[in-house]
């Protein structure tokens, strides 16, 4: 197992390097000079040259990349142009909030997805199956930012049950697990959970139907095992794939939270990205994306290893 983990680590290294190159180049994709956002319009050529030298933009690209990578590997993601604070601190604060939101949404999505998926897989072509299928198509087709708006319209503007935006009553960015803060989490988390619910329901339905059609299930029943016993076997067989999908969904939600966080003004990475884009704060943009993408790479690795550990059918070669 340890050898397998090592092999996966080796395989993931080039991808991580690729990701860092893409993130590095992002800044250079931007039209004009990366410094144009902070330099005054009437800056003299001398000032521009000095600034370029100060930020290292006068060196050739590969050299700039290596210097940047060296800093990143030492935990230095640069300084935000807008606030002047280190990017790492800003991103870590936001990541915690995003993780809370994405984890709760994934947990909700997993619970309902597995529930619908099992019912639909056990009762093929029943009403429950059709409802589950409709729900999964809805989950992947609905523009979640619009769904968020509709939720705010219904539960905040019309019924007045839940707060429409923010993460807490004091307007601070620090979420705490108490009742007041929980009320702020409900709408964004439920909105976000619609996507994984649909995807997990669809996958689990197919998995369960597939497992139930296999010979070993028939053999178990022929042996006289009761339905509960058979159910346990189905769960054990479906678990590795279902858990893997759940892990990946967490990553997708974390990386794709910008739209929902914008709708609900949730102080996470999406909200940070939004600010970075509109203030043309390129170091912050670069840093946030690097952290999110690396988290996704790491999560993929963990999911892979977990799936292999849970499922003896997967070869560890």
């Amino acid at each position: 197992m340890l050898l397998y983990i090592l092999k996966r680590l080796v395989a993931v290294t080039p991808v991580a390097f690729g990701v860092s190159i893409v993130c590095f180049l992002l800044v250079h994709l931007a039209p004009g000079d990366p410094l144009s956002a902070i330099l005054p319009a009437d800056a003299t050529q001398q000032t521009i040259d000095d600034m370029r030298a100060a930020y290292g933009f006068d060196k050739p690209l590969p050299v700039q990349y290596l210097i940047w990578l060296w800093h990143v590997l030492h935990g230095d993601l640069g300084v935000s142009i807008a606030t002047g604070r280190p990017v790492l601190g800003e991103v870590s604060r936001a990541v915690v909030n995003s993780l809370i939101l994405a984890s709760v949404a994934t947990a909700l999505g997993f619970t309902f997805g597995v529930l619908f998926g099992f019912v639909a897989g056990y009762r093929r072509n029943s009403l429950a199956d059709r409802v589950a299928s409709a729900l999964s198509v809805f989950g992947v087709s609905v523009p979640h930012y619009w769904l968020g708006m509709v939720m705010v319209i219904v539960f905040s503007a019309t019924l007045g049950w839940l707060p429409p935006t923010g993460a807490g009553p004091d307007g601070s960015g620090n979420w705490r697990p108490d009742f007041d803060h929980l009320r702020y989490l409900i709408l964004p988390a439920v909105t976000m959970s619609v996507i994984p619910t649909g995807i997990i329901a669809r996958t689990v339905r197919a998995l369960v139907a597939d497992i139930l059609a296999q010979d070993f299930v028939e053999a178990l029943r022929a042996k006289g095992m009761d339905e509960l016993g058979v159910f346990k076997h189905v769960v054990r067989n479906a678990a590795p794939t279902a858990l893997a999908i759940m892990g990946l969904q967490l990553g997708y939600l974390l990386g794709g939270s910008i739209l929902i966080e914008t709708v609900f003004a949730w102080p996470g990475t999406g909200f940070l990205l939004n600010a970075a884009i509109f203030q043309r704060d390129l170091p912050l943009l670069q840093g946030s994306i690097l952290v999110l993408a690396m988290f996704f790479v790491l999560l993929n690795l963990v999911v892979d290893v977990m799936q292999t550990a849970l499922d003896p059918r997967i070869e560890r070669a």
Binding site: A16, S141, P143, W146, M149, I153, Y252, G256, L259, L273
Partner: protein, 310 residues
């Protein structure tokens, strides 16, 4: 079963075999109908897919004709008649925050929304298929280099990649199409590569080689004919995501710029009106949802009709 037939027909027809007939599932038993006839026949018996197709068709017709058929001027506002509710005597679907007629703007908005949603998938279909088929057919180092590069893009969740690219490139229709194309090229290329690798070792490719066909002819006739179907179906399934993402970029202010009507942008500017006139504020999103779910259902129907397994 139809595999040797394909090779033979190529030899007999001198390489003139229409692409779909080369698919293994081709009308082996319904030969008179041909592959596409078979697909259409199965598709029309799927009422849900037909309904979805009809919705798409209606939206496309509205998009094409909108400059001439909108009941009012979509750009002309009236400060006195802002945010009228739905079913107003003058404004059938109400008016927006600048007093412009909603139904006219929604109709004209279908143009840009469809354009920025569908174009990236079309471009990515061309580029992604080319990369994937090349990697799959040539194999070896070419495959390794191309596919490992593709893997890097898979390390980004698609929403993040789209927003990162258009955030760096800056707002605008062109930039949003470029970023979404970059999101879909790797996905399509990966599917194209796996489909192509799957057929590369088939007997009919060897048969064509033995019959003296040049690599280019084999690629055009045997390979393209067999892989384009599955890649096409996969690509249609991406249109729904692309519509949501493209309008999402406009919603964030990264795509279409005012005063042009586009559903995502309209949804953004109407966000402030949810306390005054919630129904009108939600309308543009409903349009995105209807089109997106229609594309999803239609693509599912098409996949079933073409008997392509996921």
């Amino acid at each position: 079963m139809s595999v040797p037939v394909t090779a033979a027909s190529v030899a007999l027809d001198g390489g003139v075999v229409t692409a779909p007939e080369a698919l293994p599932e081709s009308g082996a038993f319904v030969a008179s109908r041909g592959f596409w006839g078979h697909v259409v026949h199965r598709l029309v018996r799927d009422p849900v897919a037909v309904a979805a197709g009809a919705v798409i068709l209606i939206v496309i017709v509205i998009a094409c004709l909108s400059p001439w058929i909108t009941p009012m001027d979509p750009y002309k506002g009236s400060m006195l008649r802002r945010l009228k509710p739905v079913a107003d005597a003058t404004y059938w679907l109400g008016s927006d925050e600048l007093g412009r007629d909603m139904i006219s703007r929604l109709m004209l908005g279908s143009r840009l929304s469809l354009f920025i949603g569908v174009t990236p998938v079309v471009i990515a279909f061309v580029i992604g298929s080319a990369i994937g088929i090349l990697a799959g057919y040539v194999g070896g180092w070419t495959n390794t280099i191309l596919m490992r590069t593709i893997d890097v893009f898979f390390a980004f969740p698609s929403v993040l990649l789209a927003i990162a690219l258009s955030g760096a490139l800056g707002a605008g229709i062109f930039n949003s199409i470029v970023s979404l194309t970059c999101v879909f090229v790797p996905q399509i290329a990966r599917v194209a590569e796996s489909v192509t690798t799957g057929i590369r070792k088939r007997d009919y490719i060897d048969a064509a080689k033995l019959s003296g066909a040049s690599p280019l002819t084999i690629m055009r006739v045997q390979v393209l004919g067999n892989v384009l179907g599955p890649i096409f179906v996969y690509s249609t399934s991406l249109i729904s995501v692309s519509m949501i993402l493209a309008s999402g970029l406009s919603f964030l202010g990264l795509g279409v710029r005012p005063p042009e009507p586009e559903w995502g942008l309209m949804l953004n500017t109407l966000r402030t009106a949810i306390y005054v006139n919630p129904v009108v504020a939600a309308l543009p999103g409903l349009c995105i949802f209807i089109v997106s779910i229609s594309f999803n259902i239609f693509s599912d129907g098409l996949r079933n009709a073409m008997e392509i397994r996921q």
